[in-house]
Every structure is written in structure tokens, then in C-alpha cells.
């Protein structure tokens, strides 16, 4: 079945450093979504990417969708303590269920 892999599993950065998490699907996706889950919280939608090669920015966050629509990345510039949490990608394969990756845990040292 469809699988979504995320790396790294965990990253600890100094405040002000950049952070990137990568997401890879075993199959071509119709769209990919990114969610953030704060410690003790629930997943909160960040963004959806639909087009091949699409790049979207939200302030310090940059999201990319690969040309083959099988991979994606989230890059945070100059991390802040408020960025702490687990970032999940979730792949949607043309009307099938949304499949979540295992997430990347981000910790920020101030």
C-alpha cells in the first residue's frame, strides 16, 4: 500500500539555525499536506501543495513539492522557540485516504 516516509526522525537545532524535513512517497500523489503538532497538542494544518514543482512560502517556512509529485520538503529559516513541535507530511493519492508520515520532531535550543 501507499507509504509516506519522513526524515529525519528528530532534529535538535540552536535557535536561529535553519531546519529542513523531507517527505517521500512510494507512489505519485495528487496533493501533499503539512501539519504541525505542538507537544501535547493536536495536528494543525499548515499548507497544501497540489502542482508539480510547486513552492509556497509562509513567513519563515518554505514548502516544496517535487516535480514527480512523490516528494516534498519543509524548510524553516532562522528557527525560533515557537517552532518547536512535530511536523507531519500527509499524502493524498487521487481520492484515497490521507496517509501521514511518522513526523519529524523539532527541538530548538535558546
Amino acid at each position: 500500500g501507499q507509504q509516506v516516509m519522513q526524515i529525519p526522525q528528530y532534529q535538535h537545532v540552536q535557535e536561529g539555525e535553519d531546519f529542513t524535513t523531507y517527505c517521500n512517497s512510494s507512489t505519485t500523489l495528487s496533493n501533499i499536506q503539512w501539519y504541525k503538532q505542538r507537544p501535547g497538542g493536536h495536528p494543525v494544518f499548515l499548507i497544501q501543495l497540489v502542482k508539480s514543482g510547486e513552492v509556497k512560502k509562509q513567513k519563515r517556512l518554505t514548502f516544496q513539492f517535487g516535480e514527480a509529485k512523490k516528494n516534498s520538503s519543509l524548510h524553516i529559516t532562522a528557527t525560533q522557540t515557537t517552532d518547536v513541535g512535530t511536523y507531519f507530511c500527509a499524502g493524498d493519492k487521487y481520492g484515497n485516504k490521507l496517509v501521514f508520515g511518522a513526523g519529524t520532531i523539532l527541538r530548538v535550543k535558546s
Partner: protein, 114 residues
């Protein structure tokens, strides 16, 4: 801002007991999801409803789990009997469209089976 409501927030039960979780989606959202999230993993879909109908329950352990959304609004997820391996966070989410839409999650019910 409208939210997905879930109760209880926490549930502790002994194995072989029955437990039930409740979810009230955002008003007007026809699609409702139940997910299970084990610590350190991403949410895993258990069941998806479109209005009152089940769209996908392929990952629902039907020998012990059941879910219903009788009037197409709120929903209940039941486990009977609970097993130790059922300890997890149970998340409910809703979406205004059937497929590919943004999902809005509730705060979840954390289940501990002793």
C-alpha cells in the same frame, strides 16, 4: 473560530472493559475521520464517514472496534473489549469536502489501558 469537539480528553480503563469516545465536527463538515496516533508516530486512519455513511473502514479492527455517525453529525467510536495495545491518542478530524481537503483535528482522547 469553530473547533472539533472531543470527549473525554483522557480515559483510563482496564483491559477487557468497554470504552467510548465522542466527536462533534465543525458545523457543516460532511466528512468525519477517526484516527489513532501511537506515541512517536503519525495519525493512522481508522474510519472515514461521509455524512452518515462509512467511506473507508479498512484499517478498523472490526472484531473490537465500532464507529457510528447516525445522524451525519456527531460520531462515537467504541472499543469492546479494550486491550493493552489500544493505548494511544484517538483523534477526530472533519473536513468540508470528501477527498483531498484540509482536515481540522480535535484535541483528541488519550486512552490508557491497564
Amino acid at each position: 473560530e469553530a473547533e472539533v469537539a472531543q470527549s473525554p480528553r483522557y480515559k483510563i480503563t482496564e483491559k477487557s472493559q468497554a470504552v467510548a469516545f465522542w466527536c462533534d465536527p465543525i458545523s457543516g463538515h460532511a466528512t468525519l475521520y477517526w484516527y489513532r496516533q501511537i506515541l512517536g508516530q503519525g495519525p493512522e486512519l481508522l474510519v472515514q464517514f461521509q455524512d452518515e455513511s462509512v467511506v473507508d473502514d479498512s484499517q478498523l479492527p472490526k472484531d473490537r472496534f465500532s464507529a457510528e455517525r447516525l445522524k451525519g453529525v456527531d460520531s462515537t467510536l467504541k472499543i469492546q473489549p479494550a486491550e493493552l495495545g489500544d493505548s494511544a491518542m484517538y483523534l477526530c478530524a472533519s473536513s468540508p469536502i470528501r477527498q483531498g481537503g484540509i482536515q481540522y483535528f480535535g484535541a483528541g482522547t488519550r486512552l490508557s489501558v491497564l
